[in-house]
Symmetry: C2
Subunit: 315 residues, 2 copies
Protein backbone atom coordinates (compact mmCIF):
# COMPACT_ATOMS: atom_id res chain seq x y z
CA UNK A 1 0.00 0.00 0.00
CA UNK A 2 1.56 3.25 -1.15
CA UNK A 3 0.80 6.22 1.08
CA UNK A 4 0.33 9.76 -0.11
CA UNK A 5 3.18 12.00 1.00
CA UNK A 6 2.67 14.44 3.83
CA UNK A 7 3.49 18.12 3.42
CA UNK A 8 6.57 17.53 5.61
CA UNK A 9 7.76 14.85 3.18
CA UNK A 10 7.41 17.31 0.32
CA UNK A 11 9.44 19.88 2.25
CA UNK A 12 12.08 17.19 2.91
CA UNK A 13 12.06 16.39 -0.80
CA UNK A 14 12.74 20.03 -1.65
CA UNK A 15 15.84 20.01 0.57
CA UNK A 16 16.97 16.62 -0.75
CA UNK A 17 16.79 17.53 -4.45
CA UNK A 18 18.07 21.10 -4.10
CA UNK A 19 21.71 20.21 -4.89
CA UNK A 20 20.68 18.43 -8.11
CA UNK A 21 17.46 19.92 -9.53
CA UNK A 22 16.94 23.34 -11.11
CA UNK A 23 14.63 26.05 -9.81
CA UNK A 24 12.81 26.53 -13.10
CA UNK A 25 11.61 29.98 -14.21
CA UNK A 26 8.01 31.16 -14.43
CA UNK A 27 7.19 32.84 -17.74
CA UNK A 28 4.41 35.17 -18.84
CA UNK A 29 2.92 36.18 -22.18
CA UNK A 30 0.60 39.10 -22.88
CA UNK A 31 -0.60 37.37 -26.05
CA UNK A 32 -1.53 34.13 -24.27
CA UNK A 33 -3.15 36.04 -21.39
CA UNK A 34 -5.30 37.84 -23.95
CA UNK A 35 -6.33 34.54 -25.56
CA UNK A 36 -7.18 32.98 -22.20
CA UNK A 37 -8.78 36.04 -20.62
CA UNK A 38 -6.67 35.28 -17.53
CA UNK A 39 -3.23 35.96 -16.08
CA UNK A 40 -1.17 32.85 -16.79
CA UNK A 41 2.02 31.95 -14.92
CA UNK A 42 3.83 29.17 -16.78
CA UNK A 43 6.10 27.02 -14.59
CA UNK A 44 8.74 25.89 -17.07
CA UNK A 45 9.59 22.31 -16.13
CA UNK A 46 10.64 21.75 -19.75
CA UNK A 47 13.77 23.59 -18.55
CA UNK A 48 14.21 21.12 -15.66
CA UNK A 49 17.17 18.75 -15.75
CA UNK A 50 16.41 15.99 -18.25
CA UNK A 51 13.83 18.26 -19.89
CA UNK A 52 10.89 17.31 -17.63
CA UNK A 53 9.50 17.64 -14.07
CA UNK A 54 10.06 13.91 -13.60
CA UNK A 55 13.61 14.55 -12.41
CA UNK A 56 12.22 15.94 -9.15
CA UNK A 57 10.43 12.75 -8.13
CA UNK A 58 13.12 10.40 -9.35
CA UNK A 59 15.86 12.37 -7.65
CA UNK A 60 13.96 12.41 -4.37
CA UNK A 61 13.33 8.66 -4.56
CA UNK A 62 16.98 7.86 -5.34
CA UNK A 63 18.38 10.01 -2.53
CA UNK A 64 15.77 8.80 -0.01
CA UNK A 65 17.14 5.22 -0.25
CA UNK A 66 19.42 3.91 2.46
CA UNK A 67 22.96 2.87 1.45
CA UNK A 68 22.21 -0.86 1.22
CA UNK A 69 19.13 -0.39 -0.97
CA UNK A 70 20.86 2.18 -3.18
CA UNK A 71 23.74 -0.25 -3.80
CA UNK A 72 21.35 -2.68 -5.53
CA UNK A 73 20.29 -0.01 -8.00
CA UNK A 74 16.86 1.16 -9.14
CA UNK A 75 14.40 0.04 -11.79
CA UNK A 76 11.30 1.51 -13.37
CA UNK A 77 8.94 1.36 -16.35
CA UNK A 78 8.23 4.54 -18.22
CA UNK A 79 7.18 5.89 -21.60
CA UNK A 80 10.25 8.01 -21.46
CA UNK A 81 10.56 11.02 -19.17
CA UNK A 82 10.47 9.17 -15.85
CA UNK A 83 12.93 6.63 -17.20
CA UNK A 84 15.27 9.38 -18.31
CA UNK A 85 14.84 11.15 -14.99
CA UNK A 86 15.61 7.99 -13.01
CA UNK A 87 18.71 7.38 -15.14
CA UNK A 88 19.95 10.93 -14.47
CA UNK A 89 19.06 10.72 -10.78
CA UNK A 90 20.84 7.37 -10.36
CA UNK A 91 23.91 8.90 -12.00
CA UNK A 92 23.95 11.71 -9.43
CA UNK A 93 24.34 9.02 -6.75
CA UNK A 94 26.57 6.72 -8.79
CA UNK A 95 24.15 3.78 -8.79
CA UNK A 96 22.75 1.54 -11.55
CA UNK A 97 19.34 2.24 -13.21
CA UNK A 98 17.28 -0.26 -15.23
CA UNK A 99 14.51 1.20 -17.38
CA UNK A 100 11.67 -0.78 -18.97
CA UNK A 101 10.32 1.09 -22.03
CA UNK A 102 7.29 0.18 -24.15
CA UNK A 103 7.68 -0.29 -27.92
CA UNK A 104 6.62 2.91 -29.69
CA UNK A 105 8.14 5.33 -27.16
CA UNK A 106 9.57 8.59 -28.56
CA UNK A 107 13.01 7.93 -30.04
CA UNK A 108 14.58 11.14 -28.67
CA UNK A 109 13.59 10.07 -25.17
CA UNK A 110 15.12 6.59 -25.49
CA UNK A 111 18.39 8.05 -26.77
CA UNK A 112 18.51 10.40 -23.79
CA UNK A 113 17.99 7.49 -21.34
CA UNK A 114 20.88 5.59 -22.88
CA UNK A 115 23.11 8.68 -22.83
CA UNK A 116 22.38 9.03 -19.13
CA UNK A 117 23.85 5.57 -18.59
CA UNK A 118 20.81 3.42 -17.83
CA UNK A 119 20.17 -0.10 -19.12
CA UNK A 120 17.09 -0.21 -21.42
CA UNK A 121 14.69 -3.18 -21.40
CA UNK A 122 11.97 -3.15 -24.09
CA UNK A 123 8.47 -4.57 -23.62
CA UNK A 124 5.02 -4.54 -25.26
CA UNK A 125 3.12 -1.22 -24.95
CA UNK A 126 0.63 -2.43 -22.32
CA UNK A 127 0.42 -1.76 -18.63
CA UNK A 128 0.54 -5.52 -17.91
CA UNK A 129 3.72 -6.07 -19.94
CA UNK A 130 5.41 -3.09 -18.28
CA UNK A 131 4.60 -4.37 -14.83
CA UNK A 132 5.60 -7.98 -15.53
CA UNK A 133 8.95 -7.05 -17.07
CA UNK A 134 9.66 -4.72 -14.17
CA UNK A 135 8.74 -7.32 -11.55
CA UNK A 136 11.09 -9.81 -13.22
CA UNK A 137 13.93 -7.28 -13.10
CA UNK A 138 13.33 -6.59 -9.42
CA UNK A 139 13.50 -10.35 -8.78
CA UNK A 140 16.63 -10.85 -10.90
CA UNK A 141 18.70 -7.88 -9.75
CA UNK A 142 17.41 -6.88 -6.33
CA UNK A 143 17.01 -3.35 -7.66
CA UNK A 144 14.47 -1.11 -5.94
CA UNK A 145 11.34 -0.30 -7.95
CA UNK A 146 10.77 3.43 -8.34
CA UNK A 147 7.27 3.56 -9.74
CA UNK A 148 6.61 6.51 -12.09
CA UNK A 149 3.73 7.87 -10.03
CA UNK A 150 2.31 5.47 -7.40
CA UNK A 151 5.31 6.04 -5.11
CA UNK A 152 5.35 8.21 -2.00
CA UNK A 153 8.79 9.74 -2.61
CA UNK A 154 8.08 10.33 -6.30
CA UNK A 155 4.85 12.16 -5.48
CA UNK A 156 6.71 14.15 -2.81
CA UNK A 157 9.35 15.18 -5.35
CA UNK A 158 6.75 16.32 -7.89
CA UNK A 159 5.02 18.30 -5.13
CA UNK A 160 8.09 20.55 -4.83
CA UNK A 161 6.88 22.28 -8.01
CA UNK A 162 4.02 23.81 -6.04
CA UNK A 163 6.38 25.06 -3.31
CA UNK A 164 8.48 26.86 -5.92
CA UNK A 165 5.58 28.16 -7.97
CA UNK A 166 3.75 29.63 -4.97
CA UNK A 167 6.96 31.42 -3.94
CA UNK A 168 7.55 32.72 -7.47
CA UNK A 169 3.95 33.70 -8.24
CA UNK A 170 2.31 34.22 -4.84
CA UNK A 171 -0.79 35.79 -6.37
CA UNK A 172 -2.13 32.71 -8.15
CA UNK A 173 -5.57 31.45 -7.16
CA UNK A 174 -5.80 28.44 -9.50
CA UNK A 175 -3.37 25.79 -10.66
CA UNK A 176 -3.51 23.46 -13.68
CA UNK A 177 -1.39 20.36 -14.34
CA UNK A 178 -1.76 17.57 -16.87
CA UNK A 179 -2.83 14.20 -15.41
CA UNK A 180 -1.60 10.80 -16.58
CA UNK A 181 -0.65 8.46 -13.73
CA UNK A 182 -1.27 11.33 -11.34
CA UNK A 183 2.09 11.66 -9.59
CA UNK A 184 2.33 15.33 -10.49
CA UNK A 185 -1.31 16.19 -9.81
CA UNK A 186 -1.31 14.48 -6.42
CA UNK A 187 2.04 15.86 -5.19
CA UNK A 188 1.14 19.36 -6.32
CA UNK A 189 -2.32 19.13 -4.72
CA UNK A 190 -0.94 18.14 -1.32
CA UNK A 191 1.70 20.90 -1.30
CA UNK A 192 -0.55 23.58 -2.75
CA UNK A 193 -3.43 22.96 -0.37
CA UNK A 194 -1.11 22.77 2.65
CA UNK A 195 0.05 26.29 1.84
CA UNK A 196 -3.16 27.69 0.33
CA UNK A 197 -6.28 25.66 1.16
CA UNK A 198 -8.51 27.93 -0.97
CA UNK A 199 -6.55 27.39 -4.23
CA UNK A 200 -8.65 25.74 -6.94
CA UNK A 201 -6.93 22.76 -8.53
CA UNK A 202 -7.47 21.53 -12.08
CA UNK A 203 -6.05 18.67 -14.12
CA UNK A 204 -6.05 18.33 -17.90
CA UNK A 205 -6.53 14.86 -19.37
CA UNK A 206 -6.55 13.71 -23.01
CA UNK A 207 -10.04 12.61 -24.11
CA UNK A 208 -8.38 9.47 -25.49
CA UNK A 209 -7.00 8.48 -22.07
CA UNK A 210 -9.69 9.84 -19.76
CA UNK A 211 -9.52 7.21 -17.04
CA UNK A 212 -9.07 9.81 -14.28
CA UNK A 213 -12.24 11.66 -15.29
CA UNK A 214 -14.15 8.37 -15.57
CA UNK A 215 -12.77 7.06 -12.30
CA UNK A 216 -13.86 10.19 -10.43
CA UNK A 217 -17.31 10.05 -12.08
CA UNK A 218 -17.80 6.36 -11.31
CA UNK A 219 -16.37 6.59 -7.80
CA UNK A 220 -13.87 3.79 -8.36
CA UNK A 221 -10.70 3.28 -10.37
CA UNK A 222 -11.50 2.50 -14.03
CA UNK A 223 -8.87 0.24 -15.55
CA UNK A 224 -10.37 -0.79 -18.90
CA UNK A 225 -9.43 2.38 -20.82
CA UNK A 226 -7.18 1.68 -23.84
CA UNK A 227 -5.21 4.89 -24.32
CA UNK A 228 -5.53 6.50 -27.76
CA UNK A 229 -3.83 9.89 -27.73
CA UNK A 230 -0.76 11.65 -29.14
CA UNK A 231 0.11 12.62 -25.55
CA UNK A 232 2.71 9.92 -24.99
CA UNK A 233 3.39 11.13 -21.46
CA UNK A 234 -0.25 10.77 -20.37
CA UNK A 235 -1.14 7.24 -21.46
CA UNK A 236 -0.67 5.65 -18.03
CA UNK A 237 -3.74 4.82 -15.93
CA UNK A 238 -4.13 6.96 -12.85
CA UNK A 239 -2.64 5.18 -9.82
CA UNK A 240 -4.60 4.11 -6.76
CA UNK A 241 -3.08 6.58 -4.26
CA UNK A 242 -3.08 9.24 -6.97
CA UNK A 243 -6.80 8.84 -7.57
CA UNK A 244 -7.31 9.11 -3.83
CA UNK A 245 -5.48 12.47 -3.87
CA UNK A 246 -7.53 13.74 -6.83
CA UNK A 247 -10.70 12.95 -4.88
CA UNK A 248 -9.57 14.35 -1.52
CA UNK A 249 -8.37 17.60 -3.07
CA UNK A 250 -11.48 17.99 -5.25
CA UNK A 251 -9.40 18.25 -8.41
CA UNK A 252 -11.45 19.40 -11.40
CA UNK A 253 -10.50 17.16 -14.36
CA UNK A 254 -10.94 18.80 -17.78
CA UNK A 255 -10.69 16.52 -20.82
CA UNK A 256 -9.26 17.88 -24.08
CA UNK A 257 -9.05 16.41 -27.56
CA UNK A 258 -5.71 15.84 -29.27
CA UNK A 259 -6.60 18.54 -31.81
CA UNK A 260 -7.15 21.06 -29.00
CA UNK A 261 -3.87 20.04 -27.39
CA UNK A 262 -1.88 20.31 -30.63
CA UNK A 263 -3.29 23.79 -31.31
CA UNK A 264 -2.37 24.81 -27.76
CA UNK A 265 1.14 23.38 -28.17
CA UNK A 266 1.70 25.47 -31.31
CA UNK A 267 0.57 28.62 -29.51
CA UNK A 268 2.95 27.92 -26.63
CA UNK A 269 5.89 27.51 -29.04
CA UNK A 270 4.95 30.61 -30.97
CA UNK A 271 4.34 32.98 -28.09
CA UNK A 272 6.58 31.69 -25.28
CA UNK A 273 9.42 30.67 -27.65
CA UNK A 274 9.64 27.46 -25.65
CA UNK A 275 9.87 23.88 -26.88
CA UNK A 276 7.21 22.01 -24.91
CA UNK A 277 6.07 18.47 -25.57
CA UNK A 278 2.52 17.68 -26.56
CA UNK A 279 1.49 16.24 -23.17
CA UNK A 280 2.48 19.57 -21.57
CA UNK A 281 0.09 21.50 -23.76
CA UNK A 282 -3.01 19.78 -22.37
CA UNK A 283 -3.00 22.20 -19.42
CA UNK A 284 -3.14 25.30 -21.62
CA UNK A 285 -5.66 23.58 -23.90
CA UNK A 286 -7.88 22.97 -20.87
CA UNK A 287 -7.70 26.65 -19.89
CA UNK A 288 -8.74 27.71 -23.38
CA UNK A 289 -11.53 25.11 -23.43
CA UNK A 290 -12.97 25.81 -19.97
CA UNK A 291 -12.29 29.54 -20.15
CA UNK A 292 -15.18 30.53 -17.91
CA UNK A 293 -13.59 28.70 -14.96
CA UNK A 294 -10.44 30.81 -15.22
CA UNK A 295 -11.72 34.19 -16.44
CA UNK A 296 -9.85 37.07 -14.81
CA UNK A 297 -7.94 34.77 -12.46
CA UNK A 298 -4.23 34.29 -11.84
CA UNK A 299 -3.52 30.75 -12.96
CA UNK A 300 -0.38 28.66 -12.46
CA UNK A 301 0.20 26.31 -15.41
CA UNK A 302 2.77 23.54 -15.20
CA UNK A 303 4.60 23.03 -18.51
CA UNK A 304 5.72 19.51 -17.77
CA UNK A 305 8.38 18.75 -20.37
CA UNK A 306 10.16 19.61 -23.59
CA UNK A 307 11.40 16.29 -24.94
CA UNK A 308 10.13 16.37 -28.49
CA UNK A 309 11.08 14.46 -31.62
CA UNK A 310 11.86 17.50 -33.77
CA UNK A 311 11.46 15.41 -36.93
CA UNK A 312 7.88 14.47 -36.07
CA UNK A 313 6.00 17.56 -34.93
CA UNK A 314 2.27 16.94 -34.66
CA UNK A 315 1.07 19.85 -36.83
Amino acid sequence: MTHLPTFAQIQDAAARIAPHARVTPVMRSDALDALAGAQLHFKCENLQRGGAFKFRGACNAVWALDEAAAARGVVTHSSGNHGNALALAAATRGIRAHVVVPEGAVRAKLEAIERAGAVLHRCAPTQAAREATTAQLVQDTGAVLVHPYADTQVMAGQGTIALELLAQAPGIDALVTPVGGGGLASGVAIAAHALRPELSLHAAEPAGADDAARSLARGERVTDVVPDTVCDGLRALVGTPNLDALRRHRIDVITVTDAETIAAMRLLWQELKLVVEVSSATAFAAILKAGERFAGRHVGVVLTGGNVDLDALPW
Copy 2:
Protein backbone atom coordinates in the same frame (compact mmCIF):
# COMPACT_ATOMS: atom_id res chain seq x y z
CA MET B 1 27.01 60.74 -41.21
CA THR B 2 25.88 58.37 -38.48
CA HIS B 3 28.16 58.31 -35.44
CA LEU B 4 28.87 55.27 -33.34
CA PRO B 5 27.31 55.54 -29.88
CA THR B 6 29.49 56.30 -26.89
CA PHE B 7 29.43 54.10 -23.80
CA ALA B 8 27.52 56.88 -22.02
CA GLN B 9 24.84 56.73 -24.73
CA ILE B 10 24.54 52.97 -24.19
CA GLN B 11 24.13 53.54 -20.45
CA ASP B 12 21.47 56.16 -21.21
CA ALA B 13 19.75 53.67 -23.50
CA ALA B 14 19.63 51.10 -20.70
CA ALA B 15 17.83 53.58 -18.44
CA ARG B 16 15.51 54.69 -21.27
CA ILE B 17 14.33 51.21 -22.26
CA ALA B 18 14.17 49.77 -18.73
CA PRO B 19 10.43 50.48 -18.29
CA HIS B 20 9.60 48.68 -21.55
CA ALA B 21 12.19 45.98 -22.33
CA ARG B 22 12.76 42.69 -20.54
CA VAL B 23 15.94 41.66 -18.75
CA THR B 24 16.29 38.36 -20.59
CA PRO B 25 17.67 35.28 -18.84
CA VAL B 26 21.02 33.60 -19.47
CA MET B 27 20.76 29.84 -19.96
CA ARG B 28 23.28 27.02 -19.72
CA SER B 29 23.44 23.46 -21.02
CA ASP B 30 25.86 20.73 -19.98
CA ALA B 31 25.21 18.90 -23.25
CA LEU B 32 26.02 21.94 -25.42
CA ASP B 33 29.08 22.78 -23.29
CA ALA B 34 30.33 19.25 -23.88
CA LEU B 35 29.82 19.57 -27.64
CA ALA B 36 31.61 22.93 -27.74
CA GLY B 37 34.36 22.11 -25.27
CA ALA B 38 33.63 25.47 -23.64
CA GLN B 39 31.34 27.02 -21.04
CA LEU B 40 28.52 28.68 -22.96
CA HIS B 41 26.27 31.41 -21.54
CA PHE B 42 23.28 31.90 -23.81
CA LYS B 43 21.69 35.36 -23.63
CA CYS B 44 18.08 34.65 -24.53
CA GLU B 45 16.91 37.59 -26.62
CA ASN B 46 14.37 35.27 -28.23
CA LEU B 47 12.52 35.90 -24.95
CA GLN B 48 12.77 39.69 -25.44
CA ARG B 49 9.57 41.61 -26.14
CA GLY B 50 8.61 41.01 -29.77
CA GLY B 51 10.71 37.85 -29.76
CA ALA B 52 14.03 39.50 -30.71
CA PHE B 53 16.80 41.82 -29.44
CA LYS B 54 15.66 44.44 -31.98
CA PHE B 55 13.17 45.83 -29.47
CA ARG B 56 16.05 47.34 -27.49
CA GLY B 57 17.34 49.51 -30.33
CA ALA B 58 13.92 50.47 -31.63
CA CYS B 59 12.66 51.36 -28.16
CA ASN B 60 15.70 53.50 -27.45
CA ALA B 61 15.33 55.31 -30.79
CA VAL B 62 11.61 55.97 -30.27
CA TRP B 63 12.02 57.33 -26.74
CA ALA B 64 15.09 59.41 -27.65
CA LEU B 65 12.98 61.54 -30.06
CA ASP B 66 11.79 64.97 -28.95
CA GLU B 67 8.03 65.54 -28.77
CA ALA B 68 7.74 67.28 -32.15
CA ALA B 69 9.65 64.58 -34.01
CA ALA B 70 7.79 61.78 -32.23
CA ALA B 71 4.45 63.31 -33.24
CA ARG B 72 5.29 62.75 -36.94
CA GLY B 73 5.80 59.02 -36.33
CA VAL B 74 8.61 56.69 -37.32
CA VAL B 75 9.43 54.63 -40.41
CA THR B 76 11.84 51.84 -41.23
CA HIS B 77 12.65 49.04 -43.65
CA SER B 78 13.23 45.58 -42.23
CA SER B 79 13.06 41.90 -43.10
CA GLY B 80 10.89 41.53 -40.06
CA ASN B 81 12.25 41.74 -36.54
CA HIS B 82 13.30 45.39 -36.57
CA GLY B 83 10.00 46.31 -38.18
CA ASN B 84 8.09 44.42 -35.51
CA ALA B 85 10.25 45.97 -32.81
CA LEU B 86 9.66 49.49 -34.12
CA ALA B 87 5.92 48.84 -34.28
CA LEU B 88 5.90 47.67 -30.65
CA ALA B 89 8.17 50.52 -29.54
CA ALA B 90 6.02 53.14 -31.28
CA ALA B 91 2.97 51.68 -29.53
CA THR B 92 4.64 52.15 -26.12
CA ARG B 93 4.81 55.89 -26.92
CA GLY B 94 1.47 56.05 -28.73
CA ILE B 95 2.93 57.15 -32.08
CA ARG B 96 2.52 55.89 -35.67
CA ALA B 97 4.98 53.41 -37.25
CA HIS B 98 5.38 52.73 -40.99
CA VAL B 99 7.27 49.56 -41.92
CA VAL B 100 8.67 48.76 -45.38
CA VAL B 101 9.01 44.98 -45.83
CA PRO B 102 10.59 43.12 -48.74
CA GLU B 103 8.60 40.47 -50.64
CA GLY B 104 9.52 37.01 -49.29
CA ALA B 105 9.76 38.03 -45.64
CA VAL B 106 8.67 35.43 -43.07
CA ARG B 107 4.87 35.39 -42.83
CA ALA B 108 4.79 35.03 -39.03
CA LYS B 109 6.87 38.20 -38.70
CA LEU B 110 4.59 40.25 -40.98
CA GLU B 111 1.52 39.15 -39.04
CA ALA B 112 3.18 40.23 -35.81
CA ILE B 113 3.99 43.68 -37.24
CA GLU B 114 0.38 44.20 -38.24
CA ARG B 115 -0.86 42.99 -34.85
CA ALA B 116 1.41 45.57 -33.21
CA GLY B 117 -0.46 48.29 -35.10
CA ALA B 118 2.04 49.40 -37.75
CA VAL B 119 1.28 50.20 -41.40
CA LEU B 120 3.00 47.73 -43.79
CA HIS B 121 4.46 48.87 -47.13
CA ARG B 122 5.74 46.10 -49.43
CA CYS B 123 8.71 46.48 -51.81
CA ALA B 124 11.06 44.35 -53.94
CA PRO B 125 13.61 42.31 -51.94
CA THR B 126 16.63 44.49 -52.77
CA GLN B 127 18.51 47.01 -50.68
CA ALA B 128 17.84 49.70 -53.32
CA ALA B 129 14.08 49.13 -53.33
CA ARG B 130 13.94 49.17 -49.53
CA GLU B 131 15.80 52.45 -49.33
CA ALA B 132 13.83 54.17 -52.12
CA THR B 133 10.46 53.16 -50.66
CA THR B 134 11.55 54.32 -47.22
CA ALA B 135 12.84 57.68 -48.52
CA GLN B 136 9.53 58.27 -50.26
CA LEU B 137 7.63 57.60 -47.03
CA VAL B 138 9.84 60.01 -45.09
CA GLN B 139 9.11 62.65 -47.72
CA ASP B 140 5.37 61.96 -47.78
CA THR B 141 4.69 61.68 -44.05
CA GLY B 142 7.48 63.55 -42.27
CA ALA B 143 8.07 60.43 -40.19
CA VAL B 144 11.53 59.95 -38.71
CA LEU B 145 13.64 57.18 -40.25
CA VAL B 146 14.83 54.65 -37.69
CA HIS B 147 17.36 52.66 -39.67
CA PRO B 148 17.63 48.98 -38.62
CA TYR B 149 21.36 49.19 -37.82
CA ALA B 150 23.14 52.33 -39.15
CA ASP B 151 21.57 54.50 -36.45
CA THR B 152 23.30 55.77 -33.32
CA GLN B 153 20.38 55.21 -30.95
CA VAL B 154 19.61 51.79 -32.41
CA MET B 155 23.22 50.67 -31.91
CA ALA B 156 23.13 52.10 -28.37
CA GLY B 157 19.99 50.10 -27.60
CA GLN B 158 21.49 46.86 -28.89
CA GLY B 159 24.60 47.55 -26.79
CA THR B 160 22.53 47.23 -23.62
CA ILE B 161 22.66 43.45 -24.16
CA ALA B 162 26.35 43.51 -23.24
CA LEU B 163 25.68 45.50 -20.05
CA GLU B 164 23.17 42.89 -18.92
CA LEU B 165 25.17 39.87 -20.00
CA LEU B 166 28.35 41.01 -18.25
CA ALA B 167 26.36 41.57 -15.06
CA GLN B 168 24.65 38.15 -15.35
CA ALA B 169 27.75 36.17 -16.39
CA PRO B 170 30.72 38.21 -15.14
CA GLY B 171 33.16 35.40 -15.84
CA ILE B 172 32.91 35.41 -19.64
CA ASP B 173 36.07 36.11 -21.63
CA ALA B 174 34.63 35.90 -25.16
CA LEU B 175 31.40 37.01 -26.78
CA VAL B 176 29.75 35.89 -30.01
CA THR B 177 26.89 37.60 -31.90
CA PRO B 178 25.56 37.08 -35.40
CA VAL B 179 26.34 39.89 -37.87
CA GLY B 180 24.01 41.14 -40.60
CA GLY B 181 23.83 44.93 -40.80
CA GLY B 182 26.01 45.07 -37.71
CA GLY B 183 23.84 47.06 -35.30
CA LEU B 184 24.08 44.34 -32.66
CA ALA B 185 27.78 43.57 -33.18
CA SER B 186 28.78 47.23 -33.03
CA GLY B 187 26.67 48.20 -30.02
CA VAL B 188 27.76 45.12 -28.10
CA ALA B 189 31.42 45.73 -28.99
CA ILE B 190 31.39 49.31 -27.69
CA ALA B 191 29.69 48.37 -24.41
CA ALA B 192 31.68 45.18 -23.85
CA HIS B 193 35.08 46.78 -24.48
CA ALA B 194 34.23 49.81 -22.33
CA LEU B 195 33.68 47.45 -19.41
CA ARG B 196 36.19 44.72 -20.29
CA PRO B 197 38.84 45.81 -22.85
CA GLU B 198 40.43 42.35 -22.91
CA LEU B 199 37.24 40.50 -23.95
CA SER B 200 37.58 38.78 -27.34
CA LEU B 201 34.72 39.60 -29.70
CA HIS B 202 33.47 37.34 -32.48
CA ALA B 203 30.71 37.67 -35.08
CA ALA B 204 29.08 34.85 -37.03
CA GLU B 205 28.12 35.52 -40.64
CA PRO B 206 26.36 33.26 -43.18
CA ALA B 207 28.74 32.20 -45.97
CA GLY B 208 26.00 33.25 -48.42
CA ALA B 209 25.97 36.84 -47.10
CA ASP B 210 29.61 37.30 -46.11
CA ASP B 211 30.00 40.98 -46.93
CA ALA B 212 31.33 41.83 -43.45
CA ALA B 213 34.12 39.25 -43.73
CA ARG B 214 34.94 40.44 -47.26
CA SER B 215 34.80 44.10 -46.28
CA LEU B 216 37.23 43.57 -43.42
CA ALA B 217 39.55 41.55 -45.66
CA ARG B 218 39.50 44.12 -48.46
CA GLY B 219 39.75 47.12 -46.16
CA GLU B 220 36.66 48.80 -47.61
CA ARG B 221 32.91 48.21 -47.60
CA VAL B 222 31.94 45.57 -50.18
CA THR B 223 28.47 46.23 -51.57
CA ASP B 224 28.17 43.79 -54.49
CA VAL B 225 27.27 40.70 -52.42
CA VAL B 226 23.88 39.21 -53.40
CA PRO B 227 22.66 37.48 -50.24
CA ASP B 228 21.89 33.77 -50.60
CA THR B 229 21.16 32.28 -47.18
CA VAL B 230 18.25 30.86 -45.14
CA CYS B 231 19.20 33.38 -42.43
CA ASP B 232 16.52 35.94 -43.25
CA GLY B 233 17.65 38.24 -40.42
CA LEU B 234 21.23 38.46 -41.75
CA ARG B 235 20.77 39.36 -45.41
CA ALA B 236 21.43 43.09 -44.98
CA LEU B 237 24.81 44.51 -45.97
CA VAL B 238 26.92 45.69 -43.05
CA GLY B 239 26.44 49.43 -42.51
CA THR B 240 29.21 52.02 -42.81
CA PRO B 241 29.45 52.98 -39.12
CA ASN B 242 28.93 49.33 -38.19
CA LEU B 243 31.88 48.21 -40.31
CA ASP B 244 33.94 50.91 -38.65
CA ALA B 245 33.07 49.43 -35.23
CA LEU B 246 33.93 45.90 -36.37
CA ARG B 247 37.34 47.16 -37.45
CA ARG B 248 38.07 49.30 -34.38
CA HIS B 249 37.09 46.51 -32.00
CA ARG B 250 39.03 43.85 -33.94
CA ILE B 251 35.94 41.65 -34.25
CA ASP B 252 36.76 38.17 -35.49
CA VAL B 253 34.20 37.30 -38.19
CA ILE B 254 33.54 33.55 -38.61
CA THR B 255 31.56 32.47 -41.68
CA VAL B 256 29.25 29.46 -41.44
CA THR B 257 27.29 27.55 -44.07
CA ASP B 258 23.51 27.28 -43.91
CA ALA B 259 23.86 23.54 -43.25
CA GLU B 260 26.07 24.24 -40.23
CA THR B 261 23.61 26.84 -38.97
CA ILE B 262 20.58 24.57 -39.38
CA ALA B 263 22.33 21.76 -37.49
CA ALA B 264 23.21 24.22 -34.72
CA MET B 265 19.62 25.48 -34.59
CA ARG B 266 18.32 21.95 -34.11
CA LEU B 267 20.77 21.35 -31.26
CA LEU B 268 19.69 24.58 -29.54
CA TRP B 269 16.02 23.56 -29.74
CA GLN B 270 16.75 20.05 -28.51
CA GLU B 271 19.02 20.88 -25.60
CA LEU B 272 17.91 24.35 -24.46
CA LYS B 273 14.20 23.69 -25.17
CA LEU B 274 14.08 27.14 -26.73
CA VAL B 275 12.57 28.22 -30.04
CA VAL B 276 15.31 30.25 -31.74
CA GLU B 277 15.25 31.44 -35.32
CA VAL B 278 17.79 30.28 -37.85
CA SER B 279 19.77 33.56 -37.91
CA SER B 280 20.32 33.20 -34.14
CA ALA B 281 21.95 29.83 -34.56
CA THR B 282 24.88 31.18 -36.60
CA ALA B 283 26.64 32.18 -33.37
CA PHE B 284 26.54 28.66 -31.92
CA ALA B 285 27.43 27.21 -35.35
CA ALA B 286 30.51 29.46 -35.39
CA ILE B 287 31.58 28.22 -31.97
CA LEU B 288 31.30 24.60 -33.10
CA LYS B 289 33.15 25.36 -36.35
CA ALA B 290 36.01 27.40 -34.85
CA GLY B 291 36.20 25.31 -31.68
CA GLU B 292 39.91 25.88 -31.08
CA ARG B 293 39.29 29.62 -30.56
CA PHE B 294 36.88 28.94 -27.71
CA ALA B 295 38.28 25.78 -26.10
CA GLY B 296 37.97 25.89 -22.33
CA ARG B 297 36.73 29.49 -22.32
CA HIS B 298 33.59 31.10 -20.89
CA VAL B 299 31.70 32.36 -23.90
CA GLY B 300 28.68 34.66 -24.05
CA VAL B 301 26.40 33.76 -26.98
CA VAL B 302 23.59 36.08 -28.04
CA LEU B 303 20.49 34.14 -29.14
CA THR B 304 19.02 36.99 -31.16
CA GLY B 305 15.44 35.95 -31.83
CA GLY B 306 12.72 33.32 -31.84
CA ASN B 307 10.31 34.37 -34.56
CA VAL B 308 9.97 31.23 -36.62
CA ASP B 309 7.41 30.04 -39.13
CA LEU B 310 6.52 26.80 -37.35
CA ASP B 311 5.09 25.38 -40.57
CA ALA B 312 8.40 25.76 -42.42
CA LEU B 313 11.21 24.50 -40.22
CA PRO B 314 14.50 24.22 -42.14
CA TRP B 315 15.31 20.58 -41.28
